[in-house]
Symmetry: C2
Subunit: 343 residues, 2 copies
């Protein structure tokens, strides 16, 4: 089956006895073109169902008007929100967005970036996979002078502007809140502490515990694991089996927090009366279960928005001086029943 050949500017030119460059100008609302021909051309374009071939235009202009985005997975509430912010802002400025999921897998992340480079995106926004240990692929982007921005997560060794949340500070607030509610022994479930976000949060928690005179040996439990649903349950069961005590569980993702809550309830441990539970990232489910779980609301949409703004600003100004700034957006402590001590 032969594909029908799409209309080109040459077809329009021929139909109107014009030159294709005139057609191009008319279509792009070039200033030096007569109103009459502009209208003629646009009418004929519509009649012939002309759709510009953006590959050709971009090839010629060597700019794709496209932003590449690499995220771990779109199914996470935070990222789908961030993408909304990215898309809204980009579209408003006439840019398209290409989204790649790394699925928290370094190999895929590398492939994603190759694809984006090949399609000559004008800039890349990335929230690297947790497991990403090498950064050759990221430096490669910089070497090609493609503007690179980290958002939410970052790799310390790679020199690029970052748009982050105040993980350190909000983790402090969250820890302080638990202590204020009477927590004496905190059980923390964290992800890979080499990853920026978990490291920052853990540091905030540590500092706050120390300030409050906690004994870091006896008053803190830490479990480092992948922050998926199942692992919340597993962590709790382990601790329970070991017979260690704790009066608050702080999961660094809502999914582990929810899963922890469920096991506690199953085991007849009351939340928040016996053990308080808090999470991170304000997944929709955290507000819906009972008791509703205290969590941290992150400005996901705003992060996406700001990342694009910074990128576009950089693209316009061509100002390489501010290439390494760090913007930090405020998160919000969302206190719900699960951490309000009642007894």
């Amino acid at each position: 089956m032969e594909r029908k050949k799409p209309t080109t500017i040459h077809d329009i030119a021929k139909a109107l006895n014009l030159n294709s460059s005139t057609v191009s100008r008319a279509l792009n609302n070039h200033p030096r073109i007569s109103e009459k021909t502009r209208l003629m051309v646009q009418k004929t374009a519509k009649k012939l169902a002309y759709q510009p071939n953006s590959m050709a235009a971009n090839l010629r202009k060597s700019s794709s008007k496209t932003i590449g985005v690499v995220i771990p997975r779109i199914s996470r509430h935070f990222f789908s929100q961030a993408i909304s912010g990215i898309e809204e802002t980009a579209y408003a400025e006439g840019y398209s967005v290409v989204i790649c999921q790394s699925m928290e897998n370094e190999k895929r992340e590398i492939r994603n970036i190759d694809t984006l480079i090949s399609s000559r995106v004008d800039g890349i926004l990335i929230s690297p996979a947790i497991g990403t240990k090498s950064y050759k692929h990221l430096n490669q982007i910089k070497e090609r002078d493609i503007p690179l921005f980290f958002f939410d997560r970052y790799i310390e060794e790679v020199d690029a502007s970052k748009i982050l949340t105040d993980d350190f500070k909000i983790a402090r607030q969250l820890a302080q809140h638990l202590i204020d509610q009477g927590c004496k022994k905190m059980a923390v479930i964290t992800g890979d502490r080499q990853a920026s976000i978990y490291r920052d949060r853990i540091n905030g928690i540590y500092e706050t515990l120390k300030e409050n005179g906690f004994n870091m040996e006896s008053q803190l439990l830490i479990k480092e694991t992948e922050l998926i649903y199942e692992n919340g349950e597993q962590a709790i069961r382990e601790w329970l089996k070991q017979g260690v005590e704790f009066d608050a569980v702080l999961g660094l993702s809502d999914m582990v927090a929810i899963s922890a809550l469920k096991v506690l309830q199953e085991e007849g441990i009351k939340v928040p009366e016996d053990v308080m539970v808090a999470g991170f990232s304000n997944e929709p489910a955290s507000a819906l279960i009972s008791p509703a779980i205290t969590t941290v609301g992150q400005p996901a949409y705003e992060i996406g928005q700001l990342a694009v703004k910074k990128l576009l600003h950089f693209l316009k100004e061509e100002n390489p001086m501010d290439a390494h700034e760090i913007a930090i957006l405020k998160s919000e402590l969302i206190i719900r029943e699960s951490t309000i001590r009642t007894k």
Copy 2:
């Protein structure tokens, strides 16, 4: 700031005293090329950090090896799952995927499609926005001989292959289940019944109620509204205020079902003892709240997978004969506490 010019095949050719066409062949593992030059070229390509310009290649080949996907929003569990299925399958076959969100907005959907046509995608998979009433933009795709497939949702007036779930059948099963559990007066919260999915589900429910001798006037309540969280609460409050009775709420999305459940509980109405509640689509939250909500698990990943397979098969076979088939995948009735009558 001048952007550094990326390496081209000409640069490689020059470095090796070869012709650029030879380089192109070497890079693409063309059969008629000596092993020696192939290796030379590939080595030099790596050394010069060559990344092919896919715009140029695609322009030349007038095929982008890209699949365009239009969905209402990625934040919905069903769609993010479907995208996973689409991406996995497409990547395995060397295709890229461009995702566009219509945000349930017809104007945006039209713009999305224009973008996809302009970027000369090889095919389009779409799950149209609920509000989409016109279909000029969809027929336009077909007129350009770009293969078009509906998945999950479809527009009857547009002639294209479809990959669907068995909404009609599973809605029947769900309704029957409620009746089996003793439901005598069913309150249904549906979305726009002009949309294929809701229409099919409602038809299934109607048929089952009739079969079971329900009086459609007195034993069925219907509220048609946008299926967002808030509207579940609102529907229930309205009915409650009107003083009408019902013993089961069937929300055609989990979000409205959950929201309905919450209000019922707030109002002191016990679920499932006084009123049963069921939803649709198996959002993660539906399993986490208590009581856990009966819902319909849809084969989202499989739908995405199959949609791509059908598209790629069509692209390969160039067989326009099977252009209008309908594939229907089986959903699963997930029965949970919220519909198990205990009294």
